[in-house]
């Protein structure tokens, strides 16, 4: 049903702010020194806040606050919610207990990945799906025949990632009693002002860390509560550039950066099956049915998978962002989609998509061609690349329960 004209007219104001500000914007803007904003799904988001490199070290050494409010959020609730999500997503949702989080992905009928994201089971019949792209028509159409309600709640819910070795200490200091018992991928609810904040032990950094979700109206007071608690614990606000480095170290992939989502791909051949982007482990073939199941299992049976996503370690220290991967320095084998020099691993690492059999049957003699622009000249080099398992770094503090104070 179309909203009535008064409501619609009240929303006309959006033309004055083509870039939405997140519920935390006032705080981040006050701290911001670099004035380095970008558009994240229509929101004004910080690429950096004070210094990209130092922000990285805040994540790895103290505690960093990263605004994840622009993440698209759907609330899925109702008696059939579990059954519905089991049909929608690749993993077995029946195995996801209440107050737990699942990293998952979902596919179209051809088995092509529509997106990856995190599924929060807030209560037995209530879920939150967080992802990068928008899927409301897909989610609604998939719900036909299920007793389930789907609501898009991106603007209503503010999200904040608190990541780093002192993140637990910050939360404990902020008075979130019992937070020490929270295990990875577990959720707990706490009082905050006159509302509730949902805290999960999740994150995109491979480090000790948490994600906090709160109604937008309580966002600033939550920020202040954490900021005060973290004053002596090195808390800093960070932007996407620093977070991106840590996610590459953690080996996480980003939709429409490391793979094209099926609905965004203009060129039909760019869509990918889960097994082609390293998400084969999500596919629960034991489940009776889920969307894309037939296509995925058939591709496995026929060995018709075309691509594979791998972690690469590259000799030298020049990041190979966007580089072409070669076999025997000659045959094109694939493309690097993300690459950094990892300060934590002291290695030159990359995430790449290779065209099989490279990466599956042929794994040796791989090279990347790096074009490094240096003072208006390209330094061209061919560097040896070795396939290595992801994550590139593994931190014990990420999983230790109770977590350490730093």
């Amino acid at each position: 049903m179309i909203p009535d004209v008064t409501l619609r007219r009240s929303r006309q104001a959006h033309i004055a702010t083509p870039r939405l500000e997140t519920p935390f914007h006032a705080r981040i803007a006050a701290l911001d020194e670099t004035n380095d904003w970008y558009s994240w799904a229509g929101y004004k988001a910080a690429h950096s806040v004070f210094d990209e490199e130092l922000e990285y070290f805040a994540i790895r050494s103290t505690a960093a606050l990263f605004d994840i409010s622009p993440m698209v959020k759907y609330r899925i609730s109702g008696p059939d919610a579990e059954r519905y999500l089991n049909r929608l997503t690749l993993r077995d949702v029946a195995k996801l207990k209440a107050h737990r989080v699942q990293y998952t992905a979902w596919c179209d009928d051809h088995g092509h990945v529509l997106d990856d994201g995190t599924l929060f089971r807030l209560a037995p019949d209530t879920f939150r799906l967080c992802c990068q792209e928008r899927h409301l028509p897909w989610l609604l159409d998939s719900a036909i025949g299920f007793d389930v309600e789907i609501a898009e709640e991106t603007t209503e819910i503010a999200g904040l990632a608190l990541q780093g070795p002192t993140s637990f200490a910050v939360l404990a200091n902020a008075g979130f009693d019992g937070i020490e018992q929270l295990k990875p991928f577990q959720i707990a609810e706490f009082s905050h002002d006159d509302t509730r904040v949902t805290i999960s032990r999740t994150g995109f950094t491979g480090d000790l860390g948490y994600e906090l979700f709160v109604p937008a109206g309580a966002a600033l007071s939550l920020w202040d509560r954490l900021w005060m608690a973290g004053r002596n614990l090195g808390i800093r606000a960070i932007g996407y550039a620093a977070l991106n480095r840590t996610r590459i170290e953690a080996g996480f992939i980003v939709a429409n950066a490391d793979f094209m989502t099926a609905e965004a791909a203009l060129r039909a051949d760019r869509a990918r099956l889960p097994d082609e982007i390293g998400l084969d482990w999500l596919v629960d073939a034991e489940k009776p049915f889920f969307n894309g199941r037939h296509a995925i299992l058939e591709a496995r049976r026929n060995q018709s998978l075309k691509y594979i996503l791998v972690g690469l370690e590259i000799e030298g220290n020049i990041p190979a962002e966007g580089a072409i991967v070669y076999h025997r320095k000659k045959h094109e084998a694939g493309l690097v989609s993300a690459a950094i020099w990892s300060p934590l691993a002291k290695r030159n690492i990359a995430i790449a998509t290779l065209e099989r059999p490279y990466g599956s049957r042929i794994v040796d003699d791989l090279w990347v061609e790096i074009y490094a622009s240096r003072e208006l000249q390209y330094q061209k080099m061919m560097k040896r690349a070795t396939i290595v398992p992801r994550p590139f770094i593994k931190l014990d503090r990420r999983t230790a329960t109770p977590p350490g104070l730093f």
Partner: protein, 539 residues
């Protein structure tokens, strides 16, 4: 008496494009234009002092950038300015806008439906996919599937291979897309009527079909295939009006040594031993040429300019039944000041884009019903733009030129010829519709030019005033445009060619028919095209 290598009938944009390429290839080309100005349906004329009107076509997107570059049109004064979005006004006092910025666009749709807001991406992807398939065909001669000549076979193979890149699913989608109605197509993506009405406009423009008629989805595609400087699907204003396109072409043509004669109304194509040898003008003058090329539509060319006894019967039959029905009219208005639309908030960019008032599919279809009944729409569909919000050259400062494209408007009223009273009544439906949304609109009008199919046919020469020289439905495209077996710009009369929008790839100020025709003519003359750069890759 001088004999030209090529005599071009008509100085519309396609005629001039073909003439330019032929002249540049070393031929001596004469363009004969019946009016005292060139341009056909792409003109800018000063009908009242100080105001330039884009008299017929009014926005620019389809004109191929390869042609602009090859013919050095920027040097000859052509500039195209992209414009932002637009709006459809709703009867309840609100509007639905469109924005170039993806997220602003989504938020605008979300005012009506969160679902539709998120459906737009999939819609845009699917339409763009279809465009990407069609786009490379624009600047290629359509293959004749029954000729079995190596070249046609190679071209068919190319098509087949392109089609082969599609998944089975995409192929099925493409066939559906080419044949379904724009209404059915939009229903698969959107639930909100006003959103569908807004998007459906490109499916019916210039076409004597309603949004619920099969085949209209393809018409939409035709309007998405253009670009403004690489921004695919974007529309813009030609600076100085659409006449700037043809003025630049004429200037480029003359600069390369071509000759244009205005006020030269061609009455007959002369033939000797079945071969075209030149034309006879209305005043009896004969102009001789090695070849004759007609920029006129296929009906005017073969039912008026060529004697029927020179043509095969089946061909004539096909031409007679080629659908080229008048369906639209035009109001060009000089305004004393910028009209106000209280529904729009202050600072809205919509006034610089295209504005409509038809907020439901049903109203759009009802407007078509009037046309079927032989009358202009009582509640017409209007595509309204005010180019002077971005172009300072068309009106004095503070004053404005407004162009209103109006649909539906039949070639005859209840089977009778249009009268001046009919024309005035037609104009009144449009003015009163605008005035409903813009208080004081009537008082701002300084001058108005009203064009029904009668005026368009009389002045431009388009049969029934059909702006596309033939409707863009799938039965009249590719190797069926305009007539099967004659879709490669040649005709049953040796030495006579077609180069207008009646030929592949069809109407709109695109220039591709003119360029393709020139390429075929040069092929017949065993000459190499000069300065005809390859079509841009679609990557």
């Amino acid at each position: 008496m001088k004999k030209y290598d090529v005599v071009m009938i008509g100085g519309g944009h396609n005629g001039l494009v073909a003439a330019c390429y032929l002249q540049r290839a070393g031929l001596d080309v004469l363009v004969l234009e019946k009016n005292d100005w060139v341009g056909g349906a792409a003109t800018s004329r000063e009908m009242t002092p100080g105001f330039l009107y884009s008299n017929c076509s009014y926005v620019c997107s389809l004109f191929r950038p390869e042609i602009m570059r090859d013919l050095e049109l920027p040097k000859h004064g052509l500039q195209v300015i992209a414009y932002e979005g637009g709006a459809v006004f709703t009867r309840d006092g609100d509007y639905l806008a469109s924005y170039r910025d993806h997220d602003s666009h989504r938020r605008e749709f979300a005012r009506y439906s969160k679902r539709d807001a998120e459906a737009y991406e999939r819609y845009a992807r699917d339409v763009t996919r279809q465009c990407r398939f069609i786009q490379p065909l624009l600047m290629r001669t359509a293959p004749d599937p029954f000729s079995f000549k190596p070249r046609d076979l190679a071209e068919l193979l190319y098509l087949g291979r392109k089609f082969g890149d599609f998944s089975a699913h995409d192929m099925a989608q493409t066939l559906r897309f080419w044949t379904m109605s724009i209404s059915d197509f939009l229903d698969e993506y959107f639930e909100t009527d006003v959103i569908k009405a807004y998007l459906a406009l490109s499916g019916i423009i210039g076409t004597a079909l309603g949004p619920m008629s099969p085949g209209t989805a393809y018409v939409l595609l035709h309007h998405y295939m253009g670009e403004v400087d690489g921004s695919v699907g974007a529309w813009g204003y030609a600076r100085g009006g659409m006449g700037a396109v043809t003025q630049a072409l004429a200037s480029s043509f003359r600069a390369s040594g071509g000759t244009i004669r205005t006020g030269a109304d061609v009455e007959k194509v002369m033939t000797r031993s079945g071969r075209a040898t030149g034309v006879r003008l209305a005043d009896g003058e004969e102009v001789h040429g090695g070849l004759v090329v007609s920029n006129a539509d296929v009906k005017r060319t073969f039912l008026k300019l060529v004697d029927e006894d020179a043509l095969p019967e089946t061909f004539v039959h096909r031409v007679k039944h080629f659908k080229m029905r008048g369906s639209s009219g035009k109001l060009n208005i000089a305004l004393d000041s910028l009209p106000e639309f209280p529904a729009l908030p202050t600072g809205s960019s919509c006034i610089r884009g295209d504005m409509h008032f038809t907020d439901s599919m049903e109203r759009m279809e009802r407007a078509y019903d009037d046309w079927k009944a032989g009358h202009f729409s009582a509640d017409p569909f209007v595509d309204m733009v005010i180019p002077t919000t971005l172009d300072p050259t068309m009106a004095p400062p503070g004053k404005h030129f407004m162009s209103c494209f109006v649909q539906y408007c039949p070639p005859k009223i209840d089977g009778e010829d249009w009268t001046d009273a009919d024309r005035d009544a037609f104009a009144e439906t449009v003015i009163s519709q605008i005035a409903d949304y813009s208080p004081g609109f009537r008082d701002r009008i300084l001058h108005m030019e009203v064009r029904t199919p009668r005026e368009i046919e009389a002045e431009v020469g388009l049969t029934e005033g059909n702006i596309f020289q033939g409707e863009l439905t799938f039965d009249q495209l590719l190797f069926n445009r305009p007539v099967p077996g004659y879709a490669q710009y040649r005709s049953p009369v040796p030495g006579l060619y077609l180069c207008g929008s009646s030929t592949h790839p069809g109407g709109g100020v695109m220039g591709a028919p003119g360029r393709n025709a020139a390429a075929e003519i040069l092929r017949d003359l065993k000459r190499k095209p000069n300065q005809m750069s390859p079509a841009h890759d679609v990557i």
